[in-house]
Symmetry: C2
Subunit: 436 residues, 2 copies
């Protein structure tokens, strides 16, 4: 009888990073009636089954009426195996132009199975030898760390200097890595409404980062799932890719938040020129496509058709497509911030940040937060959230809590914050020594 | 300005294996009017756009009426992020029971982005250290070899003894690998209507393989994309998984041929018990799920709903769902075999095998076949096919040609075989020295 031990399997399977998501899901599953500030999912009240049919119809009509395919060719495009780099790459490029002022050749876009596959392909391409490492602004989304673990690729944390980016630390970390014989390939970050902190880089830091990365000979992996969810009207800083005149930025996007998560469609823009034996050999996108053909072969053309249809119905603008959702996120962010003020103004040294959009707020509390605290919060107070140590590799606790508000209505926010306040009071009382 | 050389990227990107698919696609694209015996795609004439709508409706009705979800829960299942191991795992298990007499716990099924991701996840789990290698019956589907290359995992070829499996060679290769300090983890094969040879293992060889693998402490990775396409009524040998009483077999399946390729839905059954520190820790499927959550997160629930709906409309039998297609494949196989006899009976030593089903026939010719031969065939004779050396790593030529007949109608088969005969005659005349 075959029996395997974890020790006989890839070491990543014993790494806490790979277990974070499961552990958090387990706690959520054990407390189905808790109010959840945990899930980073898009608002779902506007989803309708008919939308799937409409999106598919719209995409087929586009293929026959605009692209000029015959009926048979259109069916082949959606039903059969497809182009490895995707079948909605042109629509993705239009969307980037319209919503993000990013101008790219559609041929440098690879449509992926969510942004997770985009991260995985990018890291696979850059991990050429055991010397290659990636840097990441910490706290770091654990999907990036997990992908790196699967590739045995070290992730070196770079300080976030209170939610921004510590450029001096970036320089130090690169120098230290090189002194150790490592080859830093890229810096990963979420410049807009970061997961987990919700914070955005200002325009000056973005420009300084591009200059420093050029000096350091470092690619930038810009992950942008939340960029369109700006709470307040006004100028949002440009994405790094929009500012990129030197092909420094690999831009990863997702339609999980703006399209629908169930399509699992994301993309990566990788317009870096590649040479082979000194001769031009396409772009990094072509190399990612080669890797993709051996990981997932294609991104489901059916799923791409659904997202393509949604794009087409809104003039390729996901801002337009998400008008109602953006209102919800904006209102929820305001309600959470106001609710925190109301409840914690008198509760000792509890603080939080004030993101300009996105899905997340980070609360800092005067006691240690670990997975046991989360279990207590779920069991005794009926509210769950995400301990921030899961975004710091190697840490098992911190003093911070991520609150996600994208999925909630007003009543849930109010009730959830009441429960959270009760939890915080109980923890402070239980650990008075720490409450200073 | 950033510029990358291939030498700075993962070494697999310089490996011919990763370029096979592209090279073959390029030749096909250069000759759009050639008759193609190259594409291993399912028959597409029965695809209808309405089917997508019907399948989705059927799946939603199943969720609400049979599973008992509320409307909101059903929408959440399809629109939101989903369970990492999939949302149609129970339907997959029913399908395996009905069509393949394989009985498995649905919880040991991981729904994947096609069988490609299933291969990738399985190899990732088994490549624990640089010692770990996988064996594969040669010629080998290049998706397996490509996935292994991405993981720096050597693939050791095992002889196929004229289309079967050379068990003595398997034993030799395992012993030789161990003598070199390697740790052979698994043997990969396609026991039914193999890609590329079309050949199937007989029942006795299957049973002997299971016994030998147990002796050798080797897992078996059974890839089964074509198993349902039996040409002649009668008893098909059991899948290895159906015969597996010792959890030796990791069974990989695909709905790309039986469902629709554009859904990109496959699966892996991995019911091997796993221990951690000597204590039970679920199954290998749970470990593959952990890996998957860092590669693609989920398989698109929308795409799964489409495949789930197709299964449900046919009582979870893909044999029933593919009644018309199976007729086409059967008729095409007969027509190709008869056409080869008709055209090559008098053309010197040209031989071919006689598969009992599937998509492929292999032709052996008395001249060297390489990618240049394929270009000549395409340019001068208007017919394309797949040189078999692409399925043998390290080889750049062979004397064999894979003919795929799944996508063709009678006229194309007849015209294509005429052109193929002209190509073969021309090659024999051009290289008389080799024609013996």
């Amino acid at each position: 009888m075959v029996e395997l031990s974890v020790g006989q399997l890839h070491p990543s399977l014993d790494d806490p990073v790979l277990h974070s998501m499961n552990l958090l899901n387990d706690i959520a599953a054990d407390h189905p009636r808790a109010v959840s500030f945990a899930a980073g999912r898009p608002y779902e009240e506007f989803f309708r089954v008919e939308q799937l049919h409409e999106y598919l119809e719209t995409f087929f009509a586009h293929l026959t009426e605009v692209v000029g395919l015959t009926d048979k060719e259109a069916r082949r495009t959606v039903f059969q195996y497809g182009r490895t780099k995707g079948v909605i790459h042109d629509l993705v490029a239009r969307y980037l132009e319209i919503d993000e002022a990013i101008t790219v050749d559609p041929d440098s876009v690879v449509v992926t199975v969510g942004s997770q596959e985009a991260m995985f392909l990018t890291l696979r391409s850059l991990r050429a030898s055991p010397r290659d490492v990636v840097l990441a602004v910490a706290p770091t989304y654990f999907g990036l760390t997990g992908a790196a673990r699967l590739l045995d690729m070290p992730v070196l944390p770079v300080g976030d200097a209170d939610g921004g980016l510590d450029l001096a630390d970036l320089e130090r970390q690169v120098a230290a890595a090189r002194a150790r014989g490592q080859r830093p390939r890229a810096l990963y970050l979420v410049p807009d409404f970061s997961n987990p902190t919700g914070v955005s880089l200002d325009q000056a830091t973005r420009i300084a980062l591009l200059d420093l990365a050029a000096e350091l000979d470092l690619l930038i992996i810009e992950d942008n799932p939340y960029g369109l969810f700006q709470a307040d009207p006004g100028t949002r800083p440009s994405t790094l890719k929009a500012l990129d005149t030197r092909h420094q930025v690999v831009h990863i996007g997702s339609f999980a938040k703006t399209g629908l998560p169930g399509a699992r469609v994301g993309f990566v823009v990788a317009d870096q020129p590649v040479t082979r034996d000194g001769r031009p050999a396409g772009t990094l996108a072509d190399q990612l496509s080669l890797i993709k053909s051996n990981v997932t072969l294609n991104t489901s053309p059916v799923a791409q058709a659904v997202v393509g249809g949604k794009l087409l119905r809104h003039g390729c603008s996901m801002v337009a497509a998400n008008k109602r959702e953006i209102e919800v996120y904006r209102a929820n962010l305001r309600r959470v911030l106001a609710g925190l003020t109301w409840r914690f103004a008198a509760t000792g040294p509890v603080t939080w940040n004030t993101p300009a959009g996105g899905f997340f707020v980070v609360l800092t509390v005067p006691f240690t937060v670990d997975d046991r605290s989360l279990r207590r919060s779920a069991r005794d107070h009926g509210v769950i959230w995400t301990p921030l140590h899961h975004f710091h590799t190697g840490m098992t606790s911190s003093h911070q809590i991520r609150l996600s508000f994208s999925l909630l209505d007003n009543a849930a926010i109010d009730e959830g914050l009441d429960r959270l306040a009760a939890f915080v009071r109980a923890e402070i009382q239980a650990a008075p020594g720490r409450s200073t």
